[in-house]
């Protein structure tokens, strides 16, 4: 049975060249071609291809976000993200978005057939020459995350409450009203938590808290 493939790339020339190469070299049925990320997600949801081949740099919804959406809604669809050679950031983002493989655009089209087969066999596909830098980036990201957690653990329970209120959009007066404390005390809590988190502004603290998942960003609080 032919492998059902969706191809997403902004450029028609590339879509058609890839489709032609796949059909010529392997038992592949190209069920959809998408020129932007939204269309790719829509087609993947309705057609449920075996595999989606997605350019990381799609217009509208990016290829990485499209990958995330497809893997969230249709996890059985395998996704290969392709991008320019050596783009380790795109590779890491693709992995975090749940991609099953990554293919460099400097590779030969013929190699794409093998890549599809390997991914459909359950193999995780990473360009060999990017493996070292990818592992290094994962390690650095983990260190940053661990360092941030250590700083968060320095906060008192009260300071964590204040941080959560800052994420909700409160200023020091709203924090004071919410916690039934004086504005000066609220200001002191805020200064202390900024110092402990080693950030320079409330905005930076909020961004860190949301990024690390300590506090979920929600609707602005009314006080």
């Amino acid at each position: 049975m032919a492998t059902r493939v969706l191809i997403a790339d902004e450029h028609r020339l590339i879509r058609e060249a890839v489709a032609e190469a796949l059909v010529a070299e392997a038992a592949v049925n190209v069920v959809a071609e998408a020129a932007d990320g939204y269309r790719a997600v829509s087609d993947a949801g309705s057609l449920l291809p075996d595999l989606a081949l997605i350019n990381a740099d799609l217009p509208g919804l990016s290829g990485i976000d499209a990958c995330l959406a497809i893997k969230s809604s249709s996890p059985a669809v395998s996704v290969i993200v392709f991008s320019h050679s050596g783009d380790a950031d795109a590779l890491l983002s693709a992995i975090e978005a749940g991609a099953d493989g990554y293919f460099g655009m400097e590779e030969e089209l013929a190699a794409l057939v093998g890549a599809l087969e390997r991914v459909l066999d359950g193999e995780f596909l990473v360009p060999a020459h990017m493996l070292g830098q990818l592992l290094q980036r994962l390690i650095r990201r983990r260190r940053r995350s661990e360092g941030a957690l250590e700083r968060y653990l320095r906060l008192t329970p009260r300071e964590r409450e204040v941080l959560a209120l800052l994420v909700e959009g409160c200023d020091h007066e709203a924090v004071a009203a919410a916690l039934v404390i004086s504005p000066q005390t609220a200001r002191t809590h805020i200064q202390n938590l900024l110092r402990k988190l080693e950030v320079h502004s409330r905005l930076e603290a909020v961004a860190l808290a949301v990024d690390q998942g300590w506090v979920e960003a929600g609707a602005p609080r009314r006080v």
Partner: protein, 101 residues
Amino acid sequence: MSDTAPLTVPVRRVELEARHDGERVWLREPGKSPGHMLNTTAFALWELCDGTTAPHEMVEAICILFGLERATAERDVELGLADLTRAGLVEWRRRQAENGA
């Protein structure tokens, strides 16, 4: 770094030059031959030996990337580092502060 960090970590020999040959990589000292041939996985491990990265960090990254069980990744990293050490491609030194993280 945590207080439980090991005192020594692997460090690659910086004077070695790498030459990529398809799925293999040759490491050799300039002007000397024949050098050492590594597969891409062993080369990636060698690249991680920067004097700041501990083996347990390598294990964790490999587990995340390949979805391996920790015990499997630990064994692979241990064997890989042992091979690189025996071949004289890495040496073990006290851990340095990380640069440019």
